[in-house]
Symmetry: C2
Subunit: 480 residues, 2 copies
């Protein structure tokens, strides 16, 4: 651990304030963490305190996995240049990667980030279809470059956003718990159709506006939107509508790909074997932290893009080091059977979260699969009013207990679990146990408040059913 | 060199055709190179043949420099995570990097590529100025994402391009040799003013169209445009005009930064100490091949961007490994005195290229400084008609002699020299010697053709002055 800490934490923070753009936010900004090393699912701060990492979906096979580090080291010492030269790493990785997809997805472009991948996907789709309009899902986030802010309601509808451009059409996200249509009124089958019909109507709107749709853009499970799992059959119907309108369909697997969902390598595959997107984008976990990402598409779309004559050159994209690192990540997923592990751990965690749901009324919904799970916190199970401040409070308190979790979704009330895949049974027990105790404490505190209120106001309140904190988010002062 | 070659070259090529998008072009596509290792200024193919690398402006301090590799290895094994946690590498590098700029450029954003940097720069400028219009230079290339294709005439005016959007204004590049105004008719001082006035007029045009200019975008020396060095005083006047119109000025140092020009760390500094852009973008050489890039700007622009409330999060940007690598690159530039070396080698090469110019009429112009040099090939020194096919022929023949050089510019007639900075005197002699012999051979061959023609047609042609090949590009079959 030699030389991992050169400055005192306050000095680091001061230099950061001086030289790093204020738009780059720290986690827990009231008391940010200084992390100096990490291994597996654990991060260590400057005092050697160990944090259980339940949020890092980039260091996918575990922080600093030796097999990945070793692959990077070996290649870095030998050659790191651009892909205008032939190199085995690039083509062997491309062959291996495409073998993990349905046959028609056979052509790759290697880039450096999910943003570069998603931007290129828009270019591919526009060239292929001749159309410009994009259909995106509400609350979606697809990246930080201009073209992706344009199609990310998570950005353009929030502070600093400028609303949607006219070529963007926003479909309600197929969130069966708190979306436009919910499981209160419809069966899953009906929900799939209801939400898919919304996309069909936007296809018509786009066709009316400009003659057609270029691309339907969606994460296969929506992450920033609140760990949303679409109802079965949804993507099948959507893809049919979009194809009928002349558009192509994209599966953004930047956050949910590479076996995170356990049952399948790619989350779109959970919607059925016959559900095949035309373009898939990959990112975060692909290099376990190394900047490498990719676009996978069909021969036809790639040929049409190539036929324009415009070269696509990405300086660092597909260099031998990035390819070696990405290849090593696949090795680890296979060798350590991390998908099987994700299935096992995911079902254990989901069962345990559901057990907590039976005890704690603040848990409105438990969803997801594999190592992509969400706990939707509510103030009231009937109204499903989001418990935003409670989520922030839980994350703050968990951090004080050395567990890193986050909250997201339009109301920031959904606890997001997306740890490295090497999360162990002991890790799971630690997380569940701490969550359980914390929720119990919150309920006890609330009960005390309510009991006092009932004495004061002579109102009878049932103590049978724990009540969650009824304060509005603005009343609870939580700094995270 | 264990295990650097897993496939036969033809197998590598076949897999590449199968799985890599056809828009990703190979160098020397008729007979591409398979490179398996590299060191310093040399690349080695699968047969162990050594190529002198005169084109790699990414592996800036030499391929696989052990100090850089070692820094990457050490950090990779300890921690690689995102910049939402405090880390010393990030802030110490930011402090060191900004110390290399004029005081007002004090705030950094770390990203993964020049494209991500330039895209973010547009966003910063638009937020800061409230304007949308961009002024760019003709033949410029600023990156591969949608927003940058829009401002890159090198892309939008070429095959597959869709022309310029209405918010983009293209100024003639201040190319004093073959631009709109040249040294045939004007002094350098007049040229600076003439070209700057073109930008002033576009400021007026933009203001008329939409109320103002957001940003003036230019490489400090234009690379893809043909190794263009602006006349002294040009940027000073341009920046004045753009500021007067409410816009900000960007120096794209992705290709020319980090001491390549020798005399200064940043190429914009060659235009005078008082010439200070508002935003600078960095890329290619920053990590010696590792994907790391940056935007540097003023506190005021950064604060205005932050004030919108929109977070800027870049998953891999500013991770501890990228920062360690970038820091090591600065170490090497300093420790090995590579800027001084670039001054010395650059002036030697320029002197030698000018010596060749005295011998070879096909050399119309020698320009640049440090390790950023261009040789503009002409069919006729008077008309300056570009010798496109000759440039392609030279690069093909040099490659057969194990020297890698490339051609660029709107006519692809400018030999581009942009080697790693560790290019040695022996390397320089090898390059100059091979260029010299090759040009002599070409002239001899041409002379033979002309002599025959003169006998056949009884036309007297002076043999005093070597004539360059008069065939048009399409007549000479050169596959590169």
């Amino acid at each position: 651990m030699a030389d991992t800490q050169k400055l005192r934490k306050q000095e680091t923070l001061a230099l950061r304030k001086k030289h790093i753009g204020p738009s780059c936010k720290l986690f827990f900004k009231g008391d940010p963490l200084k992390i100096v090393r990490a291994s597996g699912c654990y991060m260590y701060d400057e005092e050697g305190r160990r944090y259980l990492d339940c949020i890092n979906n980039v260091c996918h096979v575990g922080h600093c996995h030796p097999h990945v580090v070793s692959a990077a080291m070996q290649q870095m010492a030998v050659l790191n240049t651009n892909c205008r030269f032939l190199h085995d790493n690039l083509v062997l990785y491309a062959e291996r990667l495409t073998s993990l997809f349905p046959d028609k997805l056979s052509v790759c472009y290697f880039v450096n980030s999910g943003s570069e991948a998603n931007d290129l996907a828009i270019r591919l789709a526009r060239t292929h279809t001749g159309h410009r309009d994009v259909i995106t899902l509400d609350h979606a986030y697809h990246g930080h470059v201009t073209s992706l802010i344009d199609i990310s309601p998570y950005k353009f509808n929030h502070p600093g956003g400028e609303g949607k451009p006219d070529w963007v059409h926003v479909a309600p996200v197929a969130d069966i718990y708190r979306g436009k249509y919910t499981d209160k009124n419809y069966t899953l089958e009906e929900l799939a159709t209801k939400y898919a019909d919304e996309v069909r109507m936007l296809c018509e709107e786009a066709t009316e506006r400009s003659g057609g749709v270029s691309i339907f853009f969606a994460e296969s499970m929506q992450s920033c939107g609140g760990q949303i799992v679409f109802p079965p059959g949804y993507l099948r119907q959507v893809y049919k509508h979009v194809h009928a309108a002349g558009g192509v369909c994209l599966a953004d697997e930047v956050q949910v790909g590479f076996g995170r969902v356990g049952s399948h390598m790619w989350a779109f595959q959970t919607q059925g074997e016959d559900v095949v997107p035309d373009i898939v984008t990959l990112g975060k976990p692909m290099g376990n932290g190394h900047p490498v990402s990719a676009v996978i598409t069909t021969r036809e779309i790639a040929e049409n893009f190539g036929a324009t004559g415009m070269e696509y050159f990405n300086t660092f994209g597909g260099n031998p080091v990035s390819a070696a690192v990405a290849n090593a990540v696949l090795d680890v997923i296979e060798n350590e059977k991390l998908m099987e592990h994700a299935v096992m751990m995911g079902s254990y965690l989901k069962k345990e979260f559901n057990r907590l749901k039976e005890k704690h009324m603040m848990i409105g919904d438990v969803r997801g699969q594999g190592m992509f799970l969400g706990i939707d916190l509510v103030k009231d199970r009937e109204t499903r009013e989001p418990a935003t401040a409670e989520a922030a409070f839980i994350n703050k308190r968990l951090k004080e207990q050395y567990v890193l979790l986050s909250a997201d979704g339009p109301y920031r009330n959904v606890l997001k679990f997306k740890s490295p895949l090497v999360f162990s049974m002991d890790d799971a027990k630690e997380l569940v146990d701490k969550l359980d105790k914390l929720m119990t404490e919150m309920e006890m505190a609330e009960k005390t408040v309510l009991d006092k209120a009932s004495v004061n106001e002579s109102v009878s309140i049932s103590s049978q059913q724990p009540q969650i904190n009824r304060k509005s988010p603005s009343e609870i002062q939580v700094k995270v």
